[in-house]
């Protein structure tokens, strides 16, 4: 059989193609990293969940207020938009332009504070309350609420003072004279009250414009609405690491309520501040984890100065500014809507 020129040419082309293919395959095999593309299942990594979709971030940071505290703990505002920052052993009062107006020296470290409509300043120490008048003069110092009590939040409405006790996992209702009137949130399956689950000392509450109490149930990732008599009206909140939900053992750690009933929440673990409608529908992000990358951050055991266990606090004012107390930066960061 005689080979035609065409067949010979095709044969040569096929042979060359095979040789080139073998060379490419061998070169690829020899130069490619042999590591598997399967991720290391023994590595704990939540970085992908800490990224925030920029389209969801509707707020921007416009300024920072230096607290001057080594350990700032809480921030609050009053109806006149004055800013109250509690830390170390004092409270600093600033006007809405961030100018320091006065300072109240305390005998102990404040854990939380709230400002009543009459301007009285309620300061929560570990297990007792102190009440100051707007001029900074001590009006009353309550007796200890109990040796094991851990006060984490206070809300005042008229003659009622609501105190959250993270240790007892209960909200205590007092009158302004310091007389106990009742408790809220004790587990009662018959009334549908699940009971508060508080794995760590973060247990916030606030009074909403509808006159009802909003209490965080951090272990269940819920915001619960209670009447002053302790009836559970409603609750919302999803357990999820997604931006719309709350994750970890205990989130959200702190809340604040706008005058229109919308709720601002802040979380630890993956630090982020978000806004929900009064019915609990996710609306937007104020500050994602990226905003706290150099401060509170996400847990990094290799970082000897890991501050991820420190929780941020929040307050809002009548101009709908959001004040975020950054305990690592020791500043109050002011956020406003981009629009």
């Amino acid at each position: 059989m005689k080979l035609s020129k065409t067949n010979l040419f095709i044969g040569i082309v096929i042979t060359v193609a095979i040789v080139i293919s073998i060379i490419i395959i061998l070169r690829t095999a020899m130069t490619t990293d042999n590591k598997t593309t399967i991720s290391n299942v023994f590595i704990y990594d939540i970085k992908e969940f800490s990224k925030t979709d920029p389209n969801l971030v509707k707020y921007k940071e416009i300024s920072k207020i230096k607290t001057g505290f080594q350990n700032p703990y809480a921030v609050a505002t009053d109806p006149s938009d004055r800013i109250y920052i509690a830390g170390d052993k004092s409270i600093r009062i600033l006007d809405s332009q961030d100018k320091i107006l006065s300072e109240i020296k305390l005998s102990d470290t404040p854990q939380c504070l709230t400002i009543a409509n009459d301007g009285s300043i309620y300061v929560g120490m570990k297990e007792h309350l102190e009440v100051y008048n707007p001029g900074g003069k001590l009006i009353t110092k309550w007796n200890s609420l109990g040796q094991n009590v851990v006060i984490t939040a206070i809300a005042v409405s008229g003659n009622d003072v609501f105190i959250s006790d993270a240790s007892g996992k209960i909200v205590l209702r007092y009158d302004t004279s310091g007389k106990l009137k009742g408790t809220i949130g004790r587990r009662d399956p018959d009334k549908g009250v699940p009971g508060f689950v508080v794995p760590s000392p973060y247990f916030d509450l606030a009074i909403a414009p509808d006159g009802l109490l909003r209490v965080v149930n951090p272990g269940l990732h819920k915001i619960e609405t209670y009447t002053y008599d302790g009836d559970l009206e409603s609750s919302w909140g999803d357990t999820s690491i997604d931006i719309k939900g709350f994750s970890g053992c205990c989130n959200p750690v702190n809340i604040a309520v706008f005058s229109d009933g919308r709720l601002v929440t802040c979380e630890k673990g993956i630090p982020r501040v978000k806004i929900y409608s009064s019915k609990g529908i996710f609306e937007s992000v104020v500050a994602g984890a990226e905003s706290f990358a150099n401060t509170v951050g996400i847990y990094n055991p290799a970082d000897t100065k890991d501050d991820s266990t420190k929780a941020i606090d929040i307050a809002v004012d009548s101009k709908k500014r959001i004040l975020i107390l950054d305990p690592v930066e020791k500043t109050v960061r002011v956020f406003v809507t981009k629009s």
Binding site: I43, V197, I241, C250, G269
Partner: protein
């Protein structure tokens, strides 16, 4: 002549010196034995406050399965429904489904206590000491899970290969009578 008698002969001097040296040696040996009897043996242990959960404990031990295990301080635990040491960051559901578990070896057991509390225990026969759950717990929770060398299997090598490779120098020798460094417990005495 009297002075001559009082003088110590060279032979007596050597004899006395040897006696003294023998007594000294005997005393030394007795002292050594006494100290040995009194002193505690030292064992290797991991300081949980220095541990960075790098995962090397699982690989560097001379044992086929590392002597380092996750342990649980129940007094620190929140008994959370969503335990971030037990569940992967985005579980499909909060149940014991394998796809929801963080531990690649399923070494953590989740038991219902009462609504909404769950108890988490470590199955040491499955745990390899990778520290993944420890990091998950600490990232969001109270940090009640932590790593420790378990002395029922540790060979207490003179030159511990995990200690040698530990990037945070978390390993130290401690008395065998206090062989564990527990989180949340003050070390006394």
């Amino acid at each position: 002549m009297e002075e001559e008698k009082d003088k110590l002969s060279r032979r007596d001097f050597v004899r006395s010196s040897i006696r003294g040296a023998c007594l000294l040696g005997l005393g030394g040996i007795l002292g050594l034995f006494y100290n040995r009897a009194r002193a505690d043996d030292l064992v290797w242990q991991l300081d949980p406050y220095k541990c960075i959960q790098c995962g090397k404990c699982a690989d560097n031990c001379v044992l086929e399965i590392s002597a380092v295990k996750c342990v649980h301080n129940f007094s620190l635990c929140g008994y959370c429904r969503l335990c971030t040491g037990y569940f992967n960051p985005q579980p499909n559901a909060l149940n014991t489904g394998a796809e929801n578990q963080l531990c690649p070896l399923g070494a953590i057991k989740r038991n219902f206590v009462e609504d909404p509390y769950y108890e988490y225990t470590i199955d040491e026969s499955l745990c390899i000491g990778c520290g993944k759950c420890v990091k998950g717990c600490y990232s969001f929770g109270n940090g009640s899970l932590f790593l420790q060398i378990r002395h029922d299997r540790c060979l207490n090598c003179n030159d511990c290969s995990i200690a040698r490779g530990c990037p945070s120098n978390a390993f130290k020798r401690i008395p065998a009578s206090q062989a564990y460094v527990f989180k949340g417990v003050e070390q006394k005495g």
